[in-house]
């Protein structure tokens, strides 16, 4: 197909629906949950779950691609494009609330990327059941963030019971509480915990383990207090002799020469980086649109088409932000379009994350600045978006880590050659 920029119809329709959801179910609650950290937005969760079930959806997961249309001709696959558009639209509503969307999240993504067909069947079916259900992914430790191959959490096989025994401390698990704690209103969730089966093997020894909610020996020790996305719980977890059935290991149980375990973790990120980028674009758009609204209310027009020399400082800023926002979104679209079309997109995925991380922090910061007291006041959401946006440049690979990925790609360097 030739170069084209027409958003697919199903995506446009979804965006319209989600705008209403974002306005009515998310933004209306944004301030309350920002100020009541660690309260769970039950009505939102239940509403979203039943809405998604009613639509026949399986949470936010890429659909089977390339379905035939009525005329029988094959439509180009748009699963990831749809997902990116959905996330962008929801995060226009509220990034924290988006993380409270029931479903498999990063946990399911890890199973999807590194699990066997049987494991996928076993672990992924639950998200379409009656109760809203969560899953999380836990790789980060206090001593292992960007350098996640340095994790210390250990998994040892107990030959007598044929179980894995996990020991370690994990931090920063998004949705860890909702995935693990057995709340009445929720279905049984799980956390994919990354641990090493051989500390001498480095990356080669890393494996994901599906740890079911409520597993004895596992404790949520803390919920973090954060700058933004406060409605999204960020859990610290301790694992003390936690026992996990043998077949809950993602990937092979023995250390081979290859690094498939680590690659499994990384594959999760390749798929999700443009999606995180999409979330950043959503907040940035929220902030920029709000700014334009306020400017219009105050009779300030943006005169597109004038040379820089004739623009006011505010006009220049807004125009620069338009450029940033539009191009960041196009980079997301290209990266997910490549994923849909099975083209390798490591470079594009990371570039979209680099760009969106930059753009959403810059835009939200600028918007607060231009709005002055209105921007800084908690009466409006601009200051909250400023706080929410910053996380985009931190999780799932900081801006620096994604720059490394981009640089290695363009230079043809390995991780050893460019650290």
């Amino acid at each position: 197909m030739p170069i084209e920029f027409e958003p697919p119809k199903p995506i446009v329709q979804t965006q319209l629906v989600l705008k209403t959801v974002a306005d009515e179910m998310m933004r209306s609650r944004s301030r309350y949950f920002d100020e009541h950290e660690h309260e769970i937005p039950w009505d939102y969760i239940e509403f979203m779950h039943s809405a998604m079930r009613a639509m026949g959806g399986n949470g936010l997961a890429p659909r089977e691609n390339g379905k035939k249309s009525e005329e029988g001709e094959k439509r180009p696959p748009i699963g990831y494009q749809m997902l990116a558009a959905q996330i962008e639209a929801l995060c226009w509503g509220d990034v924290g609330m988006y993380h409270c969307l029931p479903g498999g999240g990063l946990g399911a993504a890890a199973v999807f990327a590194a699990g066997t067909p049987e494991q996928k069947e076993k672990f992924l079916a639950r998200f379409n059941e009656e109760k809203p259900t969560f899953a999380a992914m836990s790789i980060t430790e206090a001593g292992a963030g960007s350098d996640n191959s340095a994790i210390r959490t250990r998994a040892v096989m107990d030959e007598t019971t044929h179980e894995w025994v996990l020991n370690g401390e994990k931090i920063f698990v998004t949705g860890g509480d909702k995935s693990f704690t057995e709340y009445e209103k929720l279905g049984e969730g799980f956390i994919v915990v990354w641990a090493t089966i051989d500390p001498t093997a480095g990356r080669k020894g890393m494996r994901g383990f599906v740890v079911e909610g409520g597993t004895p020996g596992v404790k949520i020790t803390r919920l973090e207090q954060k700058m933004g996305i406060r409605v999204s719980d960020t859990a610290a977890i301790s694992l003390v002799d936690a026992r996990v059935p043998f077949d809950h290991i993602l990937g092979s149980a023995t250390v081979e020469k290859d690094t498939s375990g680590f690659k499994g973790a990384m594959a999760t990120f390749d798929a999700t980086r443009p999606l995180v980028a999409a979330s950043g674009v959503g907040v940035a758009r929220a902030a920029l649109e709000f700014l334009k609204e306020k400017l219009a209310e105050n009779g300030v027009q943006i005169r597109y088409g004038l040379p820089r020399q004739k623009l006011t400082s505010i006009e220049r800023d807004v125009i620069d932000m338009d450029i940033m926002l539009k191009s960041a979104w196009l980079m997301v679209v290209k990266a997910v379009w490549m994923a849909d079309n099975k083209k390798e997109n490591v470079l594009e995925a990371s570039m979209s994350k680099v760009k969106a991380g930059d753009v959403c922090t810059k835009i939200t910061q600028k918007v607060v600045e231009i709005l002055g007291p209105l921007g800084y006041s908690r009466e409006f959401l601009a200051e909250k978006w400023f706080r929410d946006a910053k996380i985009t440049d931190i999780y799932e690979g900081t801006g620096q880590i994604n720059r490394l990925v981009v640089a290695r790609q363009i230079l043809g360097y390995s991780g050893k050659e460019l650290r």
Partner: protein
């Protein structure tokens, strides 16, 4: 649907342009910049690729249909070789494309074939004016109707090949609207300066100041005929082309400095292995991609006749100008002192880079 794949035909064209850029334009660029002269055979070789010819329908002597997307793809490829060379090869488009877009039927019949049936010939256009706040939508050169003629007064700057051009498409302010006028070289009151413009770059491209003093143009020579035309599609096409050229130059600077950084050693490693350099390169690549996609989208919207093509092209051109400055500056930085020496092309690309903020009018898709 979204798609980011050029068609097979576009790919073939890009390959041809790419070869020309690499084998002809690039090797000649430095010498041309130093001597202030492009070899004529370079121009005819570029002309033979047939970019303009392929954008003009058979009815007017061409063999295709105009596509801004194709134009953007081709211009980026060509500017990767050399900017001055690209603008020179494409100069006849400055005259022909607006006629194709906005000309009356008689004008199309009269001029299009004339331009494309020959060897490369200097048909040109004059938009830019010598003012710090030059604004294509608020020109200081004026046109006024007197009987059956328009009378043009003012001064135009940076007019490529004006000295030898048979016809110049002059843009002037007619009651607040920018309108084009086809002005013959022979017109009384039209004076092309003897001296070429001397700019920070583009030395190889002969640019002239053009004075218009009571230049009389028959009503029939107003672009679009007596009723005139809408300037917007022309301006949009210029902006999109400028954005594409900026991406091409930036990409040249990026590739060159990237390859240099992989070879150059300092403190026992390749400088590309230092994050300070590697991160610059990663950001350069990222911003190039960002501008490229904006330019593509603007071009696509232009082809589709979308209403927001105007804003989109404006944003694409603005963004690309900033991007090109940033990327070309860093390319010089990555080469260190060697980047400052004219033996390497990066300093020239950096001088090019600053120009995109004011080059609107020197290229068109």
């Amino acid at each position: 649907m979204y798609s980011f794949e050029p068609t097979e035909e576009q790919q073939m064209l890009m390959d041809a342009v790419g070869k020309y850029a690499a084998n002809d334009l690039r090797p000649a660029a430095r010498e041309a910049e130093e001597r202030g002269e492009l070899l004529h055979k370079l121009l005819s070789r570029g002309w033979e690729i047939g970019l303009l010819q392929a954008s003009i329908p058979e009815a007017y002597g061409g063999f295709g249909e105009r596509s801004a997307v194709t134009g953007v793809l081709a211009i980026e490829e060509m500017a990767f070789g050399d900017l001055a060379g690209t603008l020179a090869v494409l100069t006849p488009s400055l005259f022909a494309t607006p006629i194709l877009l906005a000309g009356s039927e008689e004008q199309k019949q009269e001029y299009l074939q004339k331009v494309i049936e020959r060897e490369w010939s200097p048909f040109t256009a004059a938009l830019i004016e010598y003012a710090f706040d030059f604004d294509p939508n608020d020109l200081k050169t004026t046109a006024a109707l007197q009987g059956e003629e328009y009378v043009l007064n003012g001064e135009k700057a940076f007019v490529p090949f004006a000295k030898d051009a048979e016809y110049i498409l002059v843009y002037a302010n007619l009651d607040g609207q920018t309108q084009g006028f086809i002005v013959s070289k022979e017109s009384t009151g039209l004076m092309v300066s003897d001296e070429r413009e001397k700019l920070m770059s583009l030395n190889a491209l002969p640019l002239y100041r053009v004075h218009l003093e009571d230049v009389r143009v028959p009503v029939s020579q107003r672009l679009g005929g007596p009723e005139g035309h809408d300037f917007e599609p022309i301006l949009v096409s210029m902006r999109v082309a400028t954005a594409a050229a900026a991406v091409g130059v930036a990409n040249a600077a990026f590739e060159y400095s990237k390859n240099y950084a992989r070879e150059r050693e300092a403190f026992g490693v390749k400088i590309a292995q230092k994050q300070a350099i590697a991160f610059m390169l990663a950001e350069m690549r990222t911003e190039i991609e960002a501008s490229r996609l904006l330019a593509w989208e603007a071009a696509w919207k232009l082809d589709q006749g979308k209403e927001d093509a105007f804003t989109e092209a404006y944003l694409a051109a603005m963004g690309a100008a900033d991007m090109a400055m940033m990327v070309t500056d860093r390319a010089v930085q990555i080469l260190g002192g060697h980047g400052y020496i004219r033996e390497h092309p990066v300093e020239m690309w950096m001088r090019n880079g600053r120009g995109f903020a004011m080059f609107i009018g020197l290229a068109i898709v």
